[in-house]
Structure formats: C-alpha cells, structure tokens
C-alpha cells in the first residue's frame, strides 16, 4: 500500500486534463484486479489485503472523477495548501461576481420561474467551463499557487450550483 498517488495507481500521468472514458477504464481495470470477489475463497489475509487495495482504488476514482475534487487533489500533490478554512481572500472582480450571483439566486428563490432558472443555470455552467479551461492551462504549466486561487473560487461557485439545484424541484412543480 501507500507510496504512490491516485494517478499512478491507475497508470495515468498527473494532469488535470483527463479523458473521463480513459479514467473510468483505468479504474475498472484496477478495481477488477483487486476486488475481494477475486479472493472469495482465499484466506483472511488475502481478503484483507484485497479489501484495502479495493477501497483505495474506489477512493482514487471518487477523487479523480469529479473535476473540482481532481483540481483540489492536484494542488495538494503540487504542495499547495488550499487553506479553505482560513484563506477567504479573493480577487475583487470575482467577489463582485459572486455577490451578483447570490442576489440572482435569492431573487429566484423568492420568485421561482423557469426562464430565470435557465438563465442562471447557463451562466453558472459557462463559469464552470471557464474554470476548467483556466485550470487546464495552469496545471499544465505547474502554476499551483495561481491554480489554488482559482480552485477556491470554483468551490464557491460549486456551492451556488448546489443551491440552484435545490430550487429545481420547486420550479419543476410550477
């Protein structure tokens, strides 16, 4: 166990840009090789080790498959602490943007309607795509400090997206 990171467990290079299909295939290959079912009639020790490896493969898959958590993990590997608890400093422009989004979301919750929901959903999606593009470049150039700042912003956006999704049920019932 230990020593290697999630990427090398799957035989993949440490990179943010990753084909989801390739990642899934890699995970399934490892998961298949180490699954406890392969050792169902084996000894207790064999089952235990298979369980550990299998758990690890699934954890790696969970962390890598989601782009945001993959970005956070890459920052960690790059030696940058995201300091999510303490570091709330943010670029003024993003701060303004975030406040606007909050207002739109509050407005939508007060007056649920389909067009406003769609508009905000599209806006969030565009912002998310932009983060993915920016981070692809930053990670490719090993600019982990700058990447960490974007990741922190993305985490705020992610919370807003979750809140927006919660309003979806209300709007679908309209």
């Amino acid at each position: 166990m230990n020593a290697t990171d999630h990427f090398s467990l799957f035989g993949l290079p440490q990179a943010f840009a990753i084909d989801p299909q390739v990642l899934e295939t890699a995970w399934k290959r490892v998961a298949t090789a180490v699954h406890p079912d392969r050792f169902a009639s084996g000894s207790a020790a064999e089952k235990r080790v298979a369980l550990q490896w299998s758990t690890r493969a699934n954890e790696a898959w969970r962390v890598l498959k989601d782009p945001l958590s993959r970005a956070r993990y890459l920052c960690e590997l790059g030696g940058v602490d995201l300091q999510t608890e303490t570091n709330t400093a943010m670029a003024p422009a993003f701060l303004m943007q975030q406040m606007e989004w909050h207002e739109s979301l509050d407005e939508l919750m007060a007056h649920p309607n389909q067009p406003a929901y769609q508009a905000l959903a599209q806006e969030f999606d565009a912002a998310r795509v932009e983060f993915v593009q920016t981070l692809t470049d930053l990670f490719a150039n090993n600019q982990f400090e700058q990447a960490a700042a974007r990741v922190r912003e993305w985490m705020f956006l992610d919370k807003l997206i979750a809140q927006l999704k919660q309003t979806h049920g209300v709007i679908a019932d309209l």
Partner: protein
C-alpha cells in the same frame, strides 16, 4: 481451506478440481437453491421434484422443525407455530414487526425480536437458518458432495442489519458465504446481460414481500449498480392483503381468527394468480364452519392494485433521479419475482419505461440462477472468457450522531464499495475522557428519523481542554456492504471499534454454541468426515506454506522464518493424530503465524499484477 495459496486473481488454485458452490435465493414466500452443472445453471429440485421450497417453518417441538411444503400443511391448524414471510423480520426491531400485519407473537429481544411459538422462542435468524439448512441438505444430496460455499441473494435495499442477519443465518446453517449478492444483480447475470451490448438496465423486482428497483450499468463485463431504490415492505403479499381487505369490507367479515385470516390470505393469492390468465376468477374459502365463494374480476382487482403499482413507479422515478438519468437512458427492463406475472404490472412497467420488459426466464427462478453463476465464478470454476465483476454501491447513507440529535453523514449512499471514509471530531467538554459513538443509517438529518445501527464508546484518552482532542472516526464498508467503525484519539492512540451487528446479529459465541449443540447430535459418520476434512485442510495449509516459503521467503525476517518453521512442524505432527479439536487449533495457530506473511505476499502479487497490466495498456 488453503490459507496461503496465491494464484492469479480469480483462478482456482487447482483448476482441474471442480469446487461445488450454490446460489441461494432466500425469498419471502419461497426459497430456491441452484447450481451450475455442465456449464448451465439450474435450480435443484427437492425429493419430490419441486423447485420452490416454501419459506415456511413449522415448530412441532422446542428442537424439532419441519421446513417447506410439509410445514405449510400445518399452517391451517397451527397458524402461530408455522412461520412464513420471515424475511420481513430479518434484522428488524420489535416495534417494526409489531406494526406489521401478521398474527405472530413478537417478543422484544434487545433491539431485535424473537417470536413466541407454542413450543419454542425463536429469532428470525434461527428460522431463516432452518430454511437454509434444508436447501444445503437438498443441494448436497443432489450434487453428491459437500459445498465449498454459497452466494446468497438479498434485496438491494436491505440495510446493514438485514444483511448481517442473513449472513448470520447462513453461518448458523453451516454455509460458507462467498458473497451476499443483490437480487437484481443476480437477475441481470442470469439474463446474460454481461454478454449483451453495453448500457443501463433497470431491474424491476416485485417479490412476495419486497420491492426493488435497481439501475445497473454494464460496461465490458463489469456490472455496476449505479442506483437502488425500493421498499422493503411492499410485495405480492400486499396485493393479497388488499384483496382480503376488499372482501372483509364488502362481506362484513369482522374479527377474523388468525386461522381464518391465513385462509383468507391464501385464498387471495390463489385468486390473484388466477386473474393472471383469466378475466374473472372464483375461489372457495372455509372459515370455521362456513364456506365462502370469493369472486373477483381482473378489472376490479387492477383498480385496487393501481395504488401499489404507482408506489413502485415512484421508487423508479427516485432511482432515476439519484442516478441523474431519464427514462430514455434505460436500455431495457428485467422483470423479477412471481408478482411480475400480473398483467397489470407488466403493462404499467412497459408503459413507464416505454419498452417491452424482459420476461423470458421464469421470474421465480431468475435470481437463484444468477446467484449460481456467481457462486461458480467465486469458487474459482471460471471458464475461459467468463469474467465479470460486480461493483456495488451502498444503499443508504451512513453517518454518526452529533450534538443536538443531528446526523453527520460520513459515507453518502450510492458510493461504490468497498469504501472507507474518515472524519475528525473533537471533545465538547473540558477534561472529557470518553466519547460515545452512535452509528446510524438513513438519508434524514435527524437521528430520530434514521435507523440506529450500533453504539460504542471510546474511553480512556487523556483529559484535555474542550475542542483540543482529535478523534478520527473511520467507516469501512466491505464488498458485502457490511460496515465496521473505528474511533481513534490521535494524540494518545486510544482506539475502539465495532463491527456493526450487535443490535441484530448473533455474537460469535452464540453461533459457536448453536453449532456445538448441533454437533452433539451428529452421528459417528459425520465426526469421521470432520476429522478427514480437518486433516485435508491441515495438509493443504502445510503444502501452501512450504510453497510460499520457497517463493517469497525474502519477505520474512530470520526470526519469523524460524517461528513459522516450528509451527509448521507442530501442525504436521498434530495432523497425523485423530483429535479433531487439536488439529483445528494447530491449523489456526499456523494460519495466525503466517497471516502477516500471507498479507505481504498478497500485496506483492497485486502490485505485480497492476504493474504488468498498466504496462500492457501503455
């Protein structure tokens, strides 16, 4: 069992030796056992050629029980001694059972329950073990040898306590459980969906007492349960209860005795099954001294059934939502369970998913057949090209109680298992030296709305200022979906853990006691067989340890090598004797002595396998 043999993953150490393993569908109304014979899975019939063993147990004396069809014969005269639908009470609390619509006398037993019959006080686990014992006996008789293990199916929606209860029942029946398998997954295997093109399939399983809806994604021979939904208290029995309620209302049948009620329920089932092929049906029922003719048209029945069917479709909607999928993403629907024979069910499901459901295999047998295929695979009888893997998910969210009766979610539902997740907690009061850990299961935010799985205490860490202790709580769910929880104070290293089962399961001591009691009655032949088995096990272990030492001795220190060599010699000498217990202990001692070595070899073997494969894929 050979304890140190390392072979290629998934391959039997002795490929030419066929290892007998069976699949068991432990059902609410009936149970089946199936095995792969000549490469084809088939249900094993009983002495009279019947495939379905009714899940019924009649207790005729404190230690004597009749199982199956013969038990049902007693149902009319002894309704309180003839236990049916026992699966509904596996891993359930007294309060839950008492709220159900059956005539039994339930007695609280800790967080679990027992059933008081006229001759015996039994737990649901013991009753299920009687059924499993019967199936094991039947299988060994038909296959002509003892079994290396069994795959037992459970509803995908079964929670931890229910899974643990099922596992305990199997242990009690002397079965080695290779795997608990979700019923819908077994059905998909039986339909050979692993050979079909890839996609997401829905499995609609309406059995006697449970409803499950699972979404399975199939990719290159990998089965992955991506979402499960269902209702552990909805099944064919409920349709029968509706029919009974209809007649008690229209015919003003108040205060039915337990025997009359059973008679009505049996008649309702006959009536419902009759309506599968006919537009109207009549059945006679004897209640005490009067005989009634109950008539029903399919149309009236379908009107009353629509509410229950709508409930099943609601589960389907929720599962789709959980998986972020819509109906058009579903490639096909597999129908499982006798209740899916009802035309209204097939029509409604077909209309909902917009495709004709798969109904080619007998819906009563399909789960057992799939389990048999999986058992055969797990026992190492793999045919070339036959290689699939089941990736399961946790059915419900697992969490901990925190301040104010709130739940902190640790492992979200639908996480791929095996999975482990840790979270850190701290102390609430100055000088606190203990922490109570309460493990719960469920989606809700309040502890009161979730199912309590286990409680334990972490004691004896040094007193500190409030908020400065660091207590890491780790949840580990294994491939069977069973949970163990460990709490560790990081500063002092004080640790406590629990495998979730104390609320419902049997302790190892209880199982050991029950097994010993069973053995006392065993005859001389059985004892001789046990001696032989132990000697063979000892011999296999000795050989595999020798082989392991020859290949991987570099993993051991000189001291460890000496220690293992000594234990090897002791085991060799003991195995030549005829003391079963001594041989058993020697095997255990040798296995214990080589456990760490085995783990290291396994680790090395996996590393080698992974490296080799990643090179292949480059």
């Amino acid at each position: 069992m050979a304890l140190l043999q390392i072979s290629e993953p998934g391959e039997s150490p002795a490929p030419h030796q066929r290892r007998l393993a069976v699949g068991i569908d432990l059902g609410t109304t009936h149970s089946l056992v199936a095995a792969v014979r000549s490469s084809v899975p088939e249900v094993l019939p009983d002495e009279q050629g019947r495939m379905l063993v009714p899940s019924a147990v009649y207790f005729e004396a404190a230690d004597r029980a009749v199982v199956g069809v013969d038990a049902l014969a007693y149902q009319g005269a002894h309704p309180l001694d003839t236990l049916v639908s026992i699966k509904r009470f596996m891993g359930r609390s007294h309060a839950e059972a008492a709220a159900s619509d059956v005539p039994y006398v339930f007695i609280p037993d800790g967080q679990s329950l027992k059933i008081q019959t006229n001759h015996a006080l039994v737990s649901p686990v013991e009753v299920a073990a009687r059924i499993l014992d019967k199936l094991k006996f039947l299988a060994e008789g038909t296959l002509g040898d003892s079994l290396v293990g069994a795959v037992i199916t459970v509803p995908a929606y079964f929670d931890d306590a229910q899974r643990q209860a099922t596992r305990d029942a199997a242990r009690l029946a002397g079965l080695n459980v290779l795997r608990l398998l979700n019923e819908p997954t077994a059905a998909a295997i039986a339909y050979g969906l692993d050979h079909s093109s890839e996609g997401v399939y829905a499995v609609y399983d309406l059995g006697g007492g449970t409803f499950d809806l699972s979404l399975l994604r199939l990719t290159r021979g990998v089965f992955e349960v991506i979402a499960t939904g269902g209702d552990t208290r909805l099944g064919g029995d409920d349709f029968d209860a509706l029919i009974v309620a209809y007649f008690t209302r229209t015919l003003c049948l108040n205060d039915l005795s337990p025997a009359s009620r059973r008679a009505m329920l049996s008649a309702a089932r006959v009536l419902r099954e009759g309506l599968t092929d006919q537009a109207d049906f009549t059945v006679k029922v004897i209640l005490g001294s009067t005989t009634l003719a109950l008539s029903l048209t399919r149309q009236v029945f379908e009107t009353m059934a629509s509410g229950l069917i709508e409930r099943t479709l609601d589960c389907a909607r929720r599962a789709l939502k959980d998986a972020s999928l819509s109906i058009k993403d579903i490639k096909g629907v597999v129908m499982v369970g006798g209740a899916t024979r009802m035309p209204i069910v097939r029509q409604s499901v077909g209309a909902f998913f917009g495709s004709e459901p798969l109904t080619d295999l007998n819906p009563d047998e399909v789960v057992a057949l799939g389990a048999a295929l999986q058992a055969n695979l797990l026992a190492g009888n793999r045919n070339p090209g036959e290689d699939w893997l089941l990736l399961d998910v946790t059915p419900l969210t697992l969490g901990l109680e925190t301040m104010g009766g709130l739940v902190e979610h640790i492992i979200p539902r639908n996480s791929t298992i095996p999975v482990a997740r840790a979270q850190e907690f701290t102390t609430f009061k100055d000088g606190q030296t203990a922490l109570a850990v309460h493990v719960v299961q469920g989606e809700r935010d309040l502890v009161a709305d979730c199912r309590s799985l286990a409680r334990f205490e972490l004691r004896g860490f040094p007193p500190m200022v409030a908020g400065s202790a660091k207590i890491r709580v780790t949840f580990q769910v294994d491939a069977d979906g069973l949970l163990s929880v460990t709490a560790r104070e990081l500063g002092s290293g004080v640790e406590a853990s629990v495998t979730v089962k104390p609320s419902y399961g049997l302790s190892d001591e209880e199982v050991a006691r029950m097994l010993t009691e069973g053995l006392k009655q065993a005859d001389y032949d059985a004892q001789m067989r046990m001696l032989k088995e132990q000697q063979v096990d000892a011999q296999q272990l000795i050989e595999s340890v020798r082989a392991a030492l020859a290949n991987d001795a570099d993993l051991l220190s000189a001291a460890d090598q000496t220690r293992i060599a000594q234990q090897l010699q002791i085991t060799l000498e003991t195995a030549n004797g005829d003391d079963v217990e001594k041989i058993r202990l020697a095997i255990k001692a040798l296995a214990d002595a080589t456990d760490d070595f085995a783990a290291k070899r396994m680790d090395r073997s996996i590393r080698a396998a992974l490296t080799g494969k990643s090179l292949d894929s480059l």
